[in-house]
């Protein structure tokens, strides 16, 4: 009996001793936040994640907020309005009908504060650590902190641009204190001022600790100054106080090389090519991209525009599919059907084959799309730049000078050379030389032909064609498509993910300088400055003037002096705004960089606004200043009662 009691006692003592009541967790694939910073590599890993986080938001969420809501790019749904509709998530951006409940309003808010929160935590954590304990010098530690502080300003700037003075200003990581909106207890404008003042002082304080030049992927002095220049340029709409002359001086300093040596490149392709991080002196800051390590890359600049068969056009084998969801805003109304005008759909026969990705396939029946070249020449439809519309916004393709080399159909070769930006007309494989590519959905079985119109010409979804249509009703061939960054041929060995995503480049400084000059009344010098960049898009002959206009047959003056279609010869504010749009088309900043500063975002006129109605969807026929800033998402307001909604949305 004693034996049993001994065994039992030992058992129980064993239970207690072998920590059978210990419920601590020791994860296998996670690291304890308390002592994460063990060496310099750990520091860099956290910084890498901060860059990557903001890069992801910038390439998708901010791109939506700043481009879809503006005049040059639209999210359109096709196939009778049912494909690409996505519950109207992006439709509300393109039609200015968003609310505090809209998905993307919420997603932008969430992503922004994740980036800023990561910065705040990093700065807090690293500041509290003795530099020597992780094997770096104090100076190195300060440099890392300065880098993240300056980058945090950039993150703040991006979210501020969307929401304005309602955002809170906080660098605290204490989760027990909920910060108030910057404008709480005061005016929205005062909130804006607080944030701008703070951003400026952060930039000024960190400038000295940042390097001059160096990697285009990291924060440096030029990054810091260009960001400050953006704040100054937009100071009037941000804070009510214009600071153009200050801005002009700073732009001049940057142009003079005070913060590093940069220059405008002659070949525009250098800005967007696979080696743009080392080979392009125009670039001040670009997010790093790579096929293997960082696929965030340029996907959002091209992918949303592309059809499902775009790879065959570019002779490439891309590992992402086209979305077929966004298009360049159309230049023409629907008073004539370009598709019907330009294409004969000829049934070639029951057993005709076509190629798809190297495989011979057949469909029954097959149509060959044939172009009648006069499609544009006849101009049966009206251009939005012409009377009676007289827009100076939107109509992207027609705002370009027709001789601009960016208007060439995209081309490429196996050496990595490439050019051209818009997909237009009949799409054929191999850069327009092969078989006709097939359209999907509402034009299933027909050739794929992109027309510079958005309309529901076949009336699918019980929606008859209207003279001016909104992006709810665009057939699969509606609108031109954009390849801003190159798709390299498979044989070239380069990948569309290889180019780094350009965020700051010297051309922005030149254009800023030009705009400041123009605002001073110096239109001639402003034009010279803009032309100093534009020159690269034209042959010498076209630049200086020769030949006749392809449509009108009139003798042409040089591109340097030629006013775009619908614009007057004077280099005025409308022209400046248009030039901003063309140079930085699809680079993710049209709403702010341009439209808002020129007071066109809710007051300007382009495409469908005021010209069509959409039952129930509340398309604002009359433009409303309410939409100048985005509202705080309802969910954020619910979670933090210290936040104040933008008064326009209350």
């Amino acid at each position: 009996m004693k034996k049993i009691s001994i065994i039992l006692s030992v058992l129980f003592a064993g239970l207690a001793a072998t920590s059978c009541f210990d419920m601590e967790e020791h994860p296998f694939t996670l690291l304890d936040a308390g002592n994460y910073f063990s060496d310099e590599a750990a520091v860099k890993q956290v910084i890498a994640n901060i860059y990557a986080q903001e890069q992801g938001d910038l390439s998708e969420l901010y791109w939506y907020a700043q481009e879809l809501s503006a005049d040059q790019i639209a999210w359109r749904s096709w196939n009778g309005g049912s494909w690409g509709w996505d519950s109207g998530d992006k439709f509300v951006l393109s039609t200015h009908t968003w609310t505090p409940l809209s998905n993307y309003v919420n997603r932008i808010w969430n992503g922004a504060w994740t980036a800023i929160g990561l910065c705040n935590n990093f700065i807090d954590d690293l500041s509290s650590i003795d530099a020597s304990s992780i094997g770096i010098t104090d100076a190195k530690k300060e440099a890392y902190i300065a880098e993240v502080r300056a980058f945090r300003v950039y993150c703040y700037y991006n979210v501020f641009e969307v929401f304005g003075g309602v955002i809170p200003l906080t660098t605290s990581t204490d989760t027990s204190i909920l910060p108030e909106s910057a404008c709480a207890g005061t005016t929205f404008e005062e909130g804006c001022r607080k944030i701008c003042d703070w951003m400026e002082s952060e930039l000024d304080e960190t400038l000295a600790a940042l390097p001059v030049g160096g990697s285009v992927n990291r924060v440096n002095q030029a990054f810091n100054r260009v960001l400050k220049m953006r704040i100054l340029l937009n100071s009037e709409i941000f804070t009510g106080t214009a600071r153009f002359s200050e801005c002009k001086n700073l732009a001049k300093e940057i142009l003079d090389g005070k913060y590093g040596s940069y220059r405008i490149v002659d070949k525009y392709q250098d800005i967007y090519s696979y080696n743009n991080d080392t080979n392009c002196p125009e670039i001040i800051f670009a997010f790093s991209s790579d096929l293997i390590y960082n696929k965030k890359s340029t996907n959002m600049r091209n992918g949303p525009f592309m059809s499902y068969v775009f790879m065959n056009y570019f002779d490439t084998t891309q590992r992402h599919a086209g979305w077929n969801c966004t298009c360049t805003t159309p230049s023409f109304d629907n008073s004539s059907d370009f598709y019907a005008q330009c294409v004969e759909n000829v049934q070639v026969g029951a057993d005709t084959t076509y190629r798809s990705n190297g495989t011979i396939r057949s469909i029954t029946p097959i149509y060959e799309a044939r172009v009648i070249k006069e499609m544009y020449d006849k101009e049966l439809a009206k251009c939005f730049l012409d009377p009676p519309y007289n827009d100076k916004l939107g109509a992207v393709h027609e705002r370009f000078d027709p001789r601009d080399i960016r208007l060439l159909p995209p081309y490429g070769d196996d050496s990595g050379n490439w050019g051209g930006m818009f997909l237009e007309g009949v799409m054929r494989e191999h850069y327009g030389t092969g078989d006709v590519q097939m359209a999907d959905a509402d034009r299933n079985g027909m050739g794929l032909v992109y027309v510079d119109q958005v309309g529901n010409f076949q009336g699918k979804g019980n929606h008859p064609v209207q003279i001016v249509e909104n992006p709810r009703w665009g057939e699969t061939n509606s609108g031109l498509r954009t390849a801003k960054y190159p798709y390299y041929t498979t044989n070239s060995g380069f990948d569309f993910c290889d180019p780094d995503v350009v965020e700051f480049r010297l051309a922005e400084v030149v254009y800023t300088y030009a705009e400041c000059l123009l605002r001073e009344g110096n239109a001639a010098e402003a034009k010279n400055q803009v032309n100093s960049v534009r020159k690269r898009y034209f042959s010498d002959a076209d630049w200086n003037g020769s030949g006749v206009h392809p449509t009108t047959g009139k003798a042409l003056i040089g591109a340097k002096d030629q006013a775009p279609r619908g614009f007057s010869d004077a280099f005025d504010m409308d022209r400046m705004l248009s030039e901003w749009g063309l140079e930085f088309y699809d680079e993710g900043h049209r709403r702010r960089t341009d439209l808002r500063r020129f007071d066109k975002f809710t007051q300007g006129q382009w495409w469908f606004f005021g010209r069509t109605t959409e039952t129930g969807y509340d398309l604002p026929a009359k433009r409303d200043r309410k939409y100048e800033w985005y509202p705080i998402p309802q969910r954020a307001l619910d979670a933090n009662h210290g936040l104040v909604q933008n008064p326009n949305y209350e």
Binding site: M1, L15, D32, A48, Q53, S172, I177
Partner: protein
């Protein structure tokens, strides 16, 4: 904690020391048992507190060696009163009295068994003889048998999901805890249905509280059969069935010819196929559907041990081609007495393997697809037609036939229990047992998609894709229990106390590579794909670990046949909980009073045999949430950035930590009457429960800033569920040979969200069930505080327009079409949570024949008719439509796909779920010892009575927080099973 340990150690040592061991070598009892008519065959003679026992033979005779002359011998047989004697006083001729009292059954409860009279909480036990026949899985055995246990069944009538007394947790899961032979968290799929002896359902808080942080959804206890039989003889039971399915008619859509004619106005693309039902024919298995289940059990006993071995093989030949699967399992149990019967060892080992090769497909949607799309095309590399529309659409037949898939899973369960009898006399019995078990589960799935596939080539630009994945988990548990029983004259005390530990570790691995030169390698040469070289291949692995530990105790006291009460307490912690909330207490009390035995009830005894009142209160927990969720951690973010000449992997804070994360709490009050009337012909119970769930885990919007991420898991909010459950059973004999019974269950419940959020974390409602909408992801359900679960929020139907659009009422009193939807116009349009649930079971026995009919139904809810919404009116853009679309709703010519209450219907239904007929053959002595043969034929899913016009409403989920959304397509099949049970 330490003090408690010291105390428990002391108690254990004291108890152990007080055991005095008997020096005797046992004591033999022998005799004959009879009743008023003659010998009683099969009565069990057991030494109390042990598994030492035997059954009486053909002449009512028995011999049993018990541990001592003072051992307590218990003689019992169903239908007779149980008697107990001290061995030395046991008369050799014993006449059993027929039991006119409540049948003296023991019921498995958490950590032990109790006599039914001792139970004062809400426990329902179903024994194997009452199981539904031909059930392919464990829960199907008891469909319709337990009031308050809601079981969803799939199109062929098999249990697919279940919950006890409704859903009350939002994120924590609503499935009850499964305990198989004492192993907490065991898997029902491990156990062959033929091996199950009984299933107990612990419905209220008091009965489940002994399971602490895991008891809040109720508990289902599965007990398997043990070895038995005459000493030295092996008993063989062959118990098998084969089932087939008869598909019910598909919903009537337009035939190919009708479609072509109609298409002149509809204008869908014609792809040229002229074969009727081409996809259905191509997908459907050429061989008939069958589900074969072969099961054999060998059981036996020796003087000191008993054992059983069962083997099961199942083979499922599916409705579609290339989708077959098999499983193999074996279960071995052995009980062995040692050391002069002081120590008893019980071992259970279970192994099960599932094999499936091929793919799965469904042809439920084929009637609604475009009938002109060909299946085959000789010009494509795979020989299957490739859709030309660039939509990512693929050929479902090609998807079924071409990719190569193989998945195996193996599970291994082992359980060892050692029980030591510490002390025994006629009044006291003290035992202790230690129980260790593990369950190891290993699964892998490998697949290869050849380069010839359309999906591979066209949409993704790779030629061939191989993937390998595996998952291994090991769950271990250790429990140490001390049991004490006391019985003297009018007093019975049963007490159990113990320690419980459970951990589980899970490891997984997954890899994918693509672009292969040779298809014939399949996944066996995964390194040869070029995606790896290009950095596009994916590779991942992971590991997780969690554990739970607790101490618990329970005391049950009974006085005469009048009063019984139980109190229990569990103190338990889990590694998942935050550091500020690791451990919690889960108490329970319950009591029952047999009113009918009171002197003042003497006048009712002529008709009222028994009336008990019981009341219980219990607190249970729900161990919700995932591992490591409370910790503040850094993790690889899968991002990279170029710094200082190299790509640096990104690391960062990976979630908003919540050190206060804890369990969800359920507080349950339960009051009930159990009754038996009219010479026990009518029995039943009625009870009322009130379950309130608190500290519900919910993913709240975190205030950003200061939080880094947009969501945080918090324990806030509460739900309540109140209801009434009624169970009735009438049984009687018409003649000696003809017996029948009618039983039924009914339950009413009302589940509500009581509160969500608090002052800091505001949330006014919970939106559930994505439905799509304008500019925001629309949801179907909205639960405000004090709103019934299942509350549908949408647009209220208000007629239709001339151009075929539905109208709905608007907030300002007008009407609007789909294009005018505004969130403000949404109102509560219905509720999809059934209020009433009922079942009816009839059985009839005539001599050796038996017949049973089971019916079941739900009422008091709406069901969203997705079939109507997707295919039911002319304006839908679907490729093919229900014929009734043009007959019933010719005026709806526009696309009306939105949350208009037009699509909501009353969902009440009742169905004849199962009819079975069986006949037993009993054999006289023969060479093979062939004792009994039982044959049965059963059919399930026979007829559903309903006004609902969509898919069969019994296939629509009635459980969880998003009930009542019907599928737009659904197969519905009757299942016919022929079964054999042969005993040797």
């Amino acid at each position: 904690m330490k003090k408690l340990l010291t105390f428990l150690t002391g108690v254990a040592v004291f108890l152990a020391a007080s055991v005095h061991m008997s020096a005797q070598n046992g004591y033999e009892v022998r005799g004959v048992i009879s009743d008023a008519i003659g010998p009683v065959v099969g009565a069990s003679v057991i030494e109390r507190g042990t598994t030492n026992g035997t059954a009486t033979g053909p002449d009512g005779d028995y011999v049993l060696r018990v541990s001592s002359a003072r051992a307590v011998v218990e003689i019992s047989c169903i239908g007779y009163q149980t008697v107990t004697y001290v061995a030395s006083e046991l008369p050799s001729r014993l006449t059993l009295q027929e039991d006119t009292e409540m049948i003296d059954e023991t019921v498995v409860v958490g950590y032990g068994t109790l006599n039914k009279k001792e139970i004062s909480s809400s426990v329902v036990s179903v024994k194997s003889e009452d199981f539904n026949k031909a059930a392919p899985n464990a829960m199907t055995l008891i469909v319709g048998k337990v009031a308050g246990l809601n079981i969803d069944t799939n199109a062929s009538g098999n249990a697919s999901g279940y919950q006890i007394r409704g859903a009350t947790s939002i994120n924590g899961g609503n499935s009850p805890l499964i305990v198989v032979d004492g192993i907490i968290g065991g898997s029902l799929s491990d156990v062959a249905t033929q091996d199950i002896e009984s299933i107990s359902v612990l419905k209220d808080g008091a009965s489940a509280a002994i399971y602490g942080t895991r008891g809040a959804n109720g508990v289902i206890l599965v007990t398997t059969k043990k070895g038995s039989g005459t000493t030295g003889r092996v008993r063989v039971t062959y118990d098998s069935y084969v089932a087939t399915q008869i598909l019910h008619k598909f919903p009537e859509t337009f035939s190919l010819d009708e479609w072509l004619e109609l298409n002149e106005s509809r204008g869908k693309a014609d792809y040229g196929n002229r074969v009727e039902n081409a996809y259905y024919k191509a997908l459907k298995n050429d061989k008939p559907y069958y589900d074969l289940n072969q099961h054999i059990t060998l059981a036996g006993s020796t003087a000191k041990s008993n054992y059983s071995l069962s083997l099961t093989y199942t083979d499922n030949n599916a409705l579609t081609k290339n989708s077959d699967s098999q499983s193999y399992s074996a279960r071995f149990q052995m009980n062995q007495k040692m050391l002069n019967d002081i120590v008893e060892s019980s071992t259970v080992a279970n192994i099960r393997a599932n094999v499936s090769e091929g793919n799965s497909a469904s042809f439920a949607g084929t009637p609604f697809s475009n009938p002109t799309v060909p299946v085959y095309d000789e010009s494509t590399p795979t020989g299957y037609y490739w859709p030309t529309s660039s939509t990512g659409s693929t050929n479902s037949v090609e998807n079924l036939m071409v990719p190569i898939n193989k998945s195996h899973s193996t599970s291994l369960t082992f359980q060892q229990d050692i029980k030591v009898k510490l002390f025994q006399n006629p009044y006291h019995l003290l035992t202790t047992n230690a129980n260790a078990s593990f369950r190891y589960n290993s699964s892998y799935s490998h697949s290869y998609t050849p380069s010839t596939m359309q999906t591979a080539q066209m949409w993704n630009n790779w030629a061939g894709s191989a993937s390998l994945g595996s998952n291994n988990s090991l769950s271990r548990s250790f429990e140490w229990l001390v049991n004490y029983n006391f019985q003297k004259t009018d007093h019975t005390i049963k007490a159990v106390g113990g320690y419980s530990y459970n951990d589980s570790v899970n490891e997984s691995m997954n890899m994918t590579n693509r672009d292969f030169q040779y298809d014939q390698f399949l996944w066996y040469n995964i390194g040869s794909g070029t995606y790896l070289k290009d950095g596009q291949a994916s590779m991942s692995s992971g590991k997780g670990f969690n554990k739970i530990a607790g101490v618990f105790g329970r005391v049950t006291y009974s006085w005469k046949n009048l009063f019984t009460a139980t109190a229990s307490l569990r103190y338990e912690g889990s590694s998942k909980f935050g550091k500020n909330k690791k451990y919690g207490y889960f108490p329970a009390v319950s009591a029952a009073w047999t009113i009918s035995n009171m002197p003042f009830m003497a006048g009712t005894r002529s008709w009222l045999d028994e009336l008990r009142f019981r009341a219980s209160y219990g607190v249970t927990g729900r161990n919700a949430g995932s591992d490591y969720a409370s910790l503040s951690t850094y993790a690889s973010k899968g991002s990279n950035y170029y710094m200082d000449g190299e790509w640096v992997p990104g690391y960062g804070i990976n979630r908003n930590a919540n050190p206060n994360l804890g369990w969800e709490t359920a507080v349950v009050y339960d009051y009930g009457f159990d009754f038996e009337l009219f010479k026990r012909r009518l029995s039943g119970s009625i009870e009322y429960f009130d379950r309130r769930s608190e500290d519900l885990l919910y993913t709240y919007t975190a205030p950003q800033p200061p939080y880094v991420y947009s969501t945080i898991q918090l324990n806030l909010g509460s739900t309540s569920n109140k209801g009434v459950e009624l169970a009735l059973n009438w049984r009687d004999n018409i003649t000696k040979d003809l017996r029948y019974s009618i039983s039924g269950t009914y339950s009413f419940s009302d589940a509500r969200l009581v509160s969500i959020g608090n002052d800091v974390y505001a949330a006014s409602w919970v939106d559930l069930g994505s439905a799509g909408g304008l500019g925001s992801s629309d949801t179907r359900f909205r639960l405000y505080e004090d709103t019934r679960i299942g509350s549908l929020r949408g647009f209220k139907y208000a007629g239709y327009t001339d151009d075929g659009q539905l109208l709905h009422e608007t907030a300002d009193g007008g009407t609007a079409t789909k294009t005018g939807v505004k969130d403000d116009d949404k109102v509560f349009i219905g509720n999809t949570l059934p209020k009433h649930s009922f079942s009816l079971n009839l059985t009839l026995n005539y001599k050796t024949w038996d017949l049973s009919v089971n019916g079941r139904g739900l009422a008091g809810m709406d069901i969203w008719n997705s079939q109507l919404q997707s295919y039911g009116y002319p304006g839908v853009s679907a490729e093919n439509l229900l014929k009734s679309a043009y007959e019933k709703y010719p005026y709806l010519t526009a696309d009306n796909n939105y949350l208009n209450s037009f699509f909501l219907e009353k969902g009440d239904w009742f169905k004849i779920e199962r009819i079975s007929v069986g006949k037993a053959f009993n054999f006289k002595k023969n060479k093979l010892n062939f004792e009994r043969l039982y044959l049965y034929l059963a059919a399930t899913n026979l007829l559903t009575l309903t006004g609902f016009t969509g898919v069969d409403p019994s296939t629509v989920s009635s459980i969880g927080l998003e009930p009542g959304i019907s599928g737009s397509t659904s197969l519905y099949a009757s299942r016919v099973t022929f079964g054999v049970t042969a005993q040797f």
